[in-house]
Every structure is written in structure tokens, then in C-alpha cells.
């Protein structure tokens, strides 16, 4: 039941402003999709001078693109696994015990996303240079893991806080050891949070460019490839196709992760 004293209907002005904001947020991406069809190779002329589907085929043939895509997928996978392990451990520690410096742990984990990416990037590069560590696949992964950990950490910690502590106590009272309790009680509870956090970390790593420019050396990830095209456009139509591909590849995990966390908070609302 709604009371009439607070008008439950939005004014037209508010609706229009909200709609405008939403359009501003999403319309530009559709423009890229449109441009994948342009036959124009040298400019971004609008309206499009015609329509062609040939660039998808051209992009498929490009060896350099396949190599960049494979590298990006590999980096994202390893960085996500590292983030899942480190993030869950940190969340478990912060949840189960209060200790001196607990706030500092959260602060330290948030720092890589609170500070501009260039700070992380140049700091890592200088450190690598100072210790004569050559750039490699692993230096990219190390860079990505620093900011992926916090994503998993936040998701898992939020789930821990919603979990009923009595379940763990019951499990222990019934004679399960900590490892069994983790396997049969805690893990099923946090599984979707891990999945959501992991998928977001994957998406974050897959299209990261700022830190990567500093830690990649000669290797080219897909975002680095796009970035080089932004500064020196050579294959405009292929870049459009790649941009669309990146958008679609990251859309799936992001969308699923959002649905997962939305669902778990829905059921949570019912039990409260």
C-alpha cells in the first residue's frame, strides 16, 4: 500500500532526464555496431556510404588478431584464478575474525582501483625495471591480479556477511572439521558469489589496457592492439569489428554475474 502523501509517480521531467541518461550510457556502443558495416576504409563518414559484411571475414583471417585474442584470454583466465584464491582467503580472514588492522586490509585491497591505473602501471614497470625482471606473460598477469583481487573480495565478503553463522556452528556441532564445513556448508553458500566475482574479474582483466601498456613489453593483448589502432589507425574497419567482438565477449560474463548477484539478493530479501 502506498500512501498518497508521497507522490509515487515520477514527473515527466524526471522520466525524460532518466531516459536521457540511459540513452547517453548505451547509444554510443550501438554506433560501433553500425560502423562494422561501413564499406568506407579511410574515414568515419556518416551516413554510411553503403553496407557490407566483408570486414567480419577480413578480421577472421588476421593472424595478429587471433594471437592477441588468445593472449588476452589466457591472461584473464590466470589472473581470475589468482584473484579467486587470494580474494576468497582475504574475505574469509576479514569475516571470521576481528583483528588489528582489519580496516587496513580492505583499504589496501581497494587501493589499486581507487588510485588511477597509471599509478599502478608505472609503479610496476619501474619495479620490474629496477630488478631487471623481463616483461612476459607473467608480468601482465601480476599487474592484472592486483586489481582483480578486490572484485572477488567484495563479492565474497558481501555473501559471507549475509550467510547465517548458525549454519557453520551447526556443522561444527555435528562433528564436521573445518575443511568439511568449508566443503559442505560454506562453499555451496558462496559458490554464486565466487562465480559472479570471477566473471567480473575476468571481464575486467580481458579488456584492461592502462596497466597492461606498462607491463606487457612486446606482447600484444587485444586491448593493446585496439589502443595501437586508436593512435595510428591503419585498419579502421577491422578495428570496428574487434571493438564489437570485445563488447560481446565481455557482455556475457558481466550480464550473468549481474543476474547472479541480483537473484541472491532477491532471495535474501524474502528470508529477512
Amino acid at each position: 500500500m502506498r500512501s498518497n502523501s508521497f507522490d509515487p509517480k515520477a514527473s515527466w521531467g524526471l522520466k525524460l532526464a532518466a531516459l536521457g541518461g540511459l540513452l547517453f550510457l548505451h547509444a554510443p556502443i550501438l554506433i560501433i555496431f553500425l560502423y562494422t558495416l561501413t564499406p568506407d576504409e579511410t574515414t568515419y563518414t556518416f551516413p554510411l556510404p553503403g553496407i557490407t559484411f566483408k570486414w567480419f571475414g577480413v578480421a577472421l583471417q588476421r593472424e595478429d588478431l587471433w594471437r592477441a585474442l588468445t593472449l588476452s584470454l589466457k591472461v584473464a583466465t590466470v589472473a581470475t584464478i589468482a584473484a579467486l584464491i587470494l580474494g576468497t582467503l582475504a574475505a574469509a580472514a576479514v569475516y571470521r575474525s576481528s583483528f588489528f588492522g582489519r580496516e587496513a586490509v580492505s583499504f589496501l585491497l581497494i587501493l589499486p582501483i581507487a588510485l588511477p591505473g597509471i599509478v599502478t602501471g608505472i609503479a610496476l614497470r619501474t619495479a620490474l625495471g629496477g630488478f631487471d625482471i623481463p616483461f612476459s606473460f607473467w608480468t601482465i598477469v601480476i599487474g592484472h591480479a592486483t586489481f582483480c583481487v578486490v572484485v572477488v573480495y567484495n563479492n565474497v565478503l558481501a555473501r559471507f556477511r549475509r550467510m547465517q553463522g548458525s549454519q557453520i556452528e551447526a556443522s561444527m556441532d555435528l562433528g564436521a572439521n573445518s575443511f568439511q564445513t568449508f566443503r559442505y556448508v560454506i562453499f555451496p553458500n558462496i559458490a554464486t558469489a565466487l562465480l559472479a566475482g570471477g566473471m567480473l574479474a575476468f571481464a575486467l582483466s580481458f579488456d584492461e589496457v592502462i596497466v597492461t601498456t606498462f607491463t606487457a613489453g612486446q606482447d600484444t593483448t587485444l586491448p593493446i592492439w585496439i589502443f595501437s589502432q586508436l593512435t595510428r589507425p591503419r585498419d579502421r574497419p577491422v578495428t570496428n569489428v574487434v571493438a564489437m567482438l570485445v563488447m560481446l565477449i565481455t557482455f556475457v560474463p558481466i550480464f550473468l554475474a549481474q543476474r547472479l548477484s541480483a537473484q541472491s539478493s532477491d532471495t535474501e530479501g524474502e528470508t529477512k
Binding site: P28, L109, L115, I122, D207, N240
Partner: protein, 301 residues
Amino acid sequence: MLNRASTYLYHRPRLALALLLGPPMIYMVVVYLGALFNLLIYSFYSLQEFTGLIVREFTLSTYAQLFEPANLDIFKRTTVMAAAVTVADALIAFPLSYYTAKFASPRLKTWLVIAITIPLWSSYLVRVYAWKLILAQEGILSWFINLLHLDGVLNRLLSFESIGGSSLALSPIGLFIVFVYIWLPYMILPILTSLERVPKSLLEASGDLGAKPLQTFRTVILPLAFPGVVAGSIFTFSLTLGDFIAPIALGNSKFFIGMAVYSYQGTAGNIPLAAAMTMGPIVIMIVYLLIARRLGAFDAL
């Protein structure tokens, strides 16, 4: 075996804690904080101008270079840009968050939240790229402006020295639009979170006591949502301060902090100066975070 290990750990909570906390903390402290600290040390070194080699001796001369007019200009330009982007984002974000939090039906709300969150995680680089297409001289925005016969107005705007340039993409206006666009989701979400926490009963009480909708908005909703705006501004401000992708992608000729750092360490090979320069955004952000904490922004994160 596992049982015994479990009992052993149960009686030693500190050890259990250390085992949990150890790996993530070792990683973050050694790799991340270690690298940051190393950067700090480098900012006190200097570059031998003739040889281009780094002199590993303590000096403040690199920091002194930051106060040269050219560098001060960069700091000023970037900070002004960050502030303008923050204000614009807050203005665009507020109606959308307000509608989503207080007026949308539960079904619509689920979709709106997803629509708001997806751009937050999706490729930042591709989102910048979209604007290269849109802002291009022969692109869709110019076409649209010509269609509405507004090209006179645009040229007038571009002729101003401080915000103008040879074309929309190359001008600070173009960069401003791109920054507003890419950081907008970071502003919407905290505002949404803080608005959701405003109980409906409070709004009803305000109405029952005779406040008009606009009055309720000004005296109840806005003050309660303010921490969310501050929380969002942490991101929009910080991200704008350090970004170098958008200016480079658009081909902006005026330097911003991120671009300057990027080129100092890259083409110039002057790591000390680049390191000293990154201390700028770090100090600005620490001050900003301290202020934000006093304004209660951390609860809205």
C-alpha cells in the same frame, strides 16, 4: 589427518588467521605496495640530462621541476577537467538514480540496475573508441549538428581559446564529453545505493507534515543522497586525474597529468620525473579521500 589439522588450527585462531591472510597480504604488500614504495624512491632520483641516465642519489630537484609553469599548467588543466567532469556526471546521474531507486516498478528496476552496471564493467577502451567515431569531423555528431543548423554555435564554442580547438575531437570539449561518458556509471551506482537506503516512510512522513514534493526533495532526499554523490565523485575525480587513454585516443594536443606521466616515462625515459608527477594525483586523491570520509561517503560505497 585433516581432522587433526582442523583441531590444531581451531585451537590456534591466530595461526589460522595468518594462513588465510598470508597469501593475499604477501601479494598485495610485496608486489603492490612494494612497487608503489619503489616509485616513491625513484621520484627522489634525477635524470642526468646529457647521458639520459638515472642518477640514484637523493635530490629534490625532480620535484622542483613539477613547479615549472608548464607542469603547473598541466596540474591545473587536469584538476579543472576532473572537477567539471564530476559535476556534469552528478547532474546526469542523479535523475536516473532517483527514478530507478524510488519510482521504477520492481521488474523495471532489476533491468535498470543491470543496464547501469553493465557499462561499469564493459570495455572502457571500446567505450572511448565509440566516441572517436562519433566525434570525427565527418562523423555522426557533426552530421546531426549540421542537420539542426547548429554549426555556427559549435564553431563559436570551438573558437574560445581555453575550451576550443580545431575540431570537436581535438578540443577539450570533446575530451570532456568522453570523460563524462566513460565515468558516468561510477557516479550512478553510489548515488543509487544511497537513495535506496532512504526509507519510503521518511518521504511519506515529510509529505504528511505538509512538505511539497520539491520541498521533500530538497530537504530530505538531497541531504541523504549527498554521501553517495561524494562517493561517486571519488571515482570520477580520480579516474579523470590519471587517465591517458582518452586524450591520446582523441589526439588531444594539450597535456593532462596521465599523458604527461606516460610520455615522460616512455619517449623521454625520465622515470624520476614521471614518478614525481604521479605523486600529484596520489596526494590529491588522499586529501580527497580524507574529506570524503568526513562527509560520510565511505558508507555509500
